[in-house]
Symmetry: C2
Subunit: 173 residues, 2 copies
Amino acid sequence: MSSPAQTLADARLEFVTQWGVLGSAWGINRTMAMLHALLLTSPIPLSTDDAMEALQISRGNANTNLRDLVAWGLLRKVVQPGQRRDYFEAEKDVWKIFCTVVRERKRREVDPALEVLQRCAEQTAALRGSEARQFHGMMKALGEFVELAARIMDRVAASERSKIVPAVVKLFK
Amino acid sequence: MSSPAQTLADARLEFVTQWGVLGSAWGINRTMAMLHALLLTSPIPLSTDDAMEALQISRGNANTNLRDLVAWGLLRKVVQPGQRRDYFEAEKDVWKIFCTVVRERKRREVDPALEVLQRCAEQTAALRGSEARQFHGMMKALGEFVELAARIMDRVAASERSKIVPAVVKLFK
DNA sequence: TCGAAGTTTCAGTTTTTACTGAAAGTGCGA
DNA sequence: TCGCACTTTCAGTAAAAACTGAAACTTCGA
């Protein structure tokens, strides 16, 4: 029978490692996902050296991925009074995390797709022939759909949890 | 000045290659995304050899990725009357494509995440101490959120476009 | 039952992505 | 203005993912 402290440590380790595995499936590298999980479940801010030690990774790896997480808006640097080194702390509000991820994925993945579709639709707008029409129709249909998705993501990312969640729950429950 | 046929071929090539690039960002391999784009914009079903030729890829690569696309439900095999070889045809209804992708991504990415979160929450439910409580609270908060997402994805994937899209547009426009 | 047409598999290779660790850079306090 | 504490960069390496091509397998008609 293990101590409560051990049970907690085990659960936390499982969360961190499994989150890393899941991250890969989501197109996020393992280290980044693990760092996020580590900070999400840390009661206190951690330094680069803390993270290196906890995950057994190199300084370069830790530095790069912590910086990327800050760029995503999932972590912020905090200064411990009287300490020179940088500490990192995760955003812990689940709704805010969600909004951040939606905003970033839209910017990185949806907006570029929309551009491609609109350009292809435009280039073929004036062409005759059933094959060209079919192609143009597909580009337009995909484009309109992706555009709707983009608008929804913008709205969601900008909204208050209390305004959106209840309405969505009502719609889908 | 290029001919209309060339303009169409160019636009199609751009769509196929850019879709490949975007696919990578989405965690889908480039070949699979390009095959999907190729079939989506093909007026007729294509064979493995057609795809190999169009994308300049090996038989093994074409075979594997076509099979995976069929497993995703984005392509179907069709038999050309009097022909022995397999032909492939893409689902072209954008709403159906969307539902398929939602259903598959939920199954592959959301469901496993939910399992991890629920297990971690359960393991720490009975622990005392503020650190354990915080951890447990985070697991529950994430778990509830992901569960809501899972329910929404189920509902969306199972629904008719005509029922959901108008309601969502109304909610978010 | 054989062989031609077609499909699948997989060991080996290439390409891409992630990671390491040491060197260079930064900036602060004495 | 030096040296220390810390951070960033990046060339080189390791690991993972994707791809090739040929051999094995399947199916079907003669």
